[in-house]
Amino acid sequence: MTGLTNFRLLGLALCLVILSGCAVQLPLQSGKGEPADVRTTAQSAPAPSEPALCGFAVAEPHKLNLLERNEFLRAVELLKAGQAESALPLLERLSQSENVVTAVYVDLAKAYLLTEQKGKAEEALQSALRLIPGHPLASQEYGVMLRRAGRFAEARGLYEDTLTYYPDYLPIRKNLGILCDIYLNDQDCALEQFTYYSQALPDDEQVRLWVSELQLR
């Protein structure tokens, strides 16, 4: 419970820092249902020389015990070493634990994809999203997987759902923009996503160029 409390604090802290106006809506995900809707209106601004932080935190509803944690870390090391086959049994065992966390499912999906088991990867990602609806990383992995499979409408729905929970998760903004632009030929959608991204990260020249190109098209 302490971990969860800390994470709530982190989320709240980020929300407070963000008050300058970056986030439209800042959810503090408890992982046990709907994210807390912490709507912010700009009430304070940072000092001109200090960058403000925008973002959010997602807490897990459970916590792995020490043994499970070590097993998870071992699986991560195996995945980093390119040994997905060896990581799989560890992650599969952890996925059966009552303490299972989304990290297990996301990495399990990665291991399945690396061993060309797309069906099982999809199941793992769906489990992650059942545990924490709209989980940004699970959605990111799943969205790209759906796009690669040509399931564009599903990918779009997934991204849009995720953004209702985490509007500031910029990788999903970018991925949705690309999906709309290249695969769905929906320029309005693409422009909206890239503009949001570009306003959040104005130093990203590439996305700024994409916005300009879309405006000129």
């Binding site: 106006g21 990290a103 990260l201």
Partner: protein
């Protein structure tokens, strides 16, 4: 105990019945022994044809695929009925393949396609099996001839054509067209320019005709592939023009004029290439998406990077199981701008500093540790 003479009618019936009993008991070894005994002991018996059928079945069930294949070939030889003959031939060929005897499978499949032009779909399917085997065995010329046959047989099939025969013919046609395309890149434009240009243009025209014809099959994968090749034909022609051998003896100004003229001639072909690759993306709306469309996107990313060179952000490996945070630093000038735009946001910068200082110490460290767009894993201990 009564001993029966080997040739007695009673014994033949008993042996046949015994074989049937072994088959019912799924004792394939004993069944095969009894049936081969029957075959040798009663060669003129009226049940010999039935014995062959039973042996074929017994061997197949007992996973004696080579022996089963021989029996099916024997059924084909013994049968008068065309349906039985054709079925036996196909079974024999498949069993030869299962037994690791591709050469014998090829012979039997060949016999089938010669003897049974109808039904068309089975004939074309069998031609495809032959083509696959020939390809596996590296018999390139025979493989190509078989693909040509698939295209021809399907084209002549009229009302017997099915979605499957059209699909196989389209795929075969694509392989044949790809072979022709392979030589296109090799034609370089050298002096005398007229001669090599004529050769390249003639080939270009033929290839455009061939790939355009493939689109008429209306098979999604083949249409996407053909479109990709059509675009690449234009791109290659443009590239060839730009890389062509320059005439000798030009001074600097003449050479510059020549380069400009080349560019002017090459540019429309590149434009055409882009246009055709873009048309491949339109197939997505029709529900077609495959590696050829991805390849068109890759090429478009090279031609028009500002529009098409867009890579998704991939999910990182999650290394910490405790939670996840995402944050990015907002540019101060951006923050100021937004605050100024919002009339309700007119506050003193110090207030934000106060908020930061009010954070728990561990959170402050985490928040200040990353750069823009950082994914922070963990935190809850």
């Amino acid at each position: 105990m009564t001993l029966l003479a080997p040739s007695s009618a009673l014994r033949s019936t008993a042996e046949y019945d015994a074989a049937t009993a072994y088959i019912q008991a799924r004792d394939w070894t004993r069944a095969a022994q009894v049936l081969t005994g029957f075959r040798n002991n009663f060669p003129e018996h009226e049940l010999q044809h039935e014995v062959t059928k039973k042996l074929a079945y017994v061997y197949r069930e007992g996973e004696e695929y080579a022996l089963a294949a021989d029996e099916f070939e024997r059924i084909e030889q013994e049968a008068d009925d065309d349906a039985l003959k054709s079925e036996a031939l196909l079974s024999a060929a498949e069993l030869h393949q299962k037994a690791g005897q591709p050469e014998r499978a090829l012979v039997v499949y060949q016999r089938y396609i010669e003897q049974f032009p109808d039904p068309l779909d089975v004939n074309v399917e069998t031609c495809q099996k032959i083509a696959d085997l020939l390809k596996e065995q590296g018999q390139q010329d025979a493989y190509i001839r078989m693909l040509e046959r698939i295209v021809r047989v399907d084209a002549e099939g009229d009302e017997q054509r099915t979605a499957r025969t059209i699909f196989l013919a389209a795929k075969a046609g694509l392989v044949l067209a790809e072979r022709h395309y392979a030589g296109f890149d090799d034609i370089t434009l050298v002096q005398p320019f007229d001669k090599s240009l004529k050769k390249k243009k003639t080939m270009m025209k033929d290839l455009i005709q061939e790939f355009s014809h493939l689109i008429e099959y209306q098979v999604g994968e083949v249409t996407a592939a053909s479109t990709w090749y059509l675009a690449e034909i234009y791109a290659e022609f443009s590239r060839s023009l730009m890389q062509s051998e320059r005439p000798k003896g030009l001074d600097d100004i003449e050479l510059e004029d020549y380069e400009l003229a080349l560019e002017e001639n090459a540019y429309p072909f590149e434009e055409k290439a882009i246009e055709v690759h873009q048309s491949n993306l339109e197939l997505i709306a029709a529900g077609v998406y495959n590696s050829w469309i991805d390849k068109s996107i890759e090429r478009l990313a090279q031609f028009v990077p500002a529009r098409y060179a867009k890579s998704e952000e991939l999910c990182p490996l999650v290394e910490v199981p405790d939670g996840f945070a995402f944050y990015f630093a907002e540019k101060p000038e951006n923050a100021t701008l937004q605050a100024a735009e919002d009339s309700s946001a007119e506050v003193e910068p110090q207030e934000a500093e106060t908020a930061v200082s009010a954070l728990p110490e561990d959170t402050q460290q985490q928040s200040s540790g990353g750069s823009a767009g950082d994914v922070q894993q963990g935190g809850a201990q």
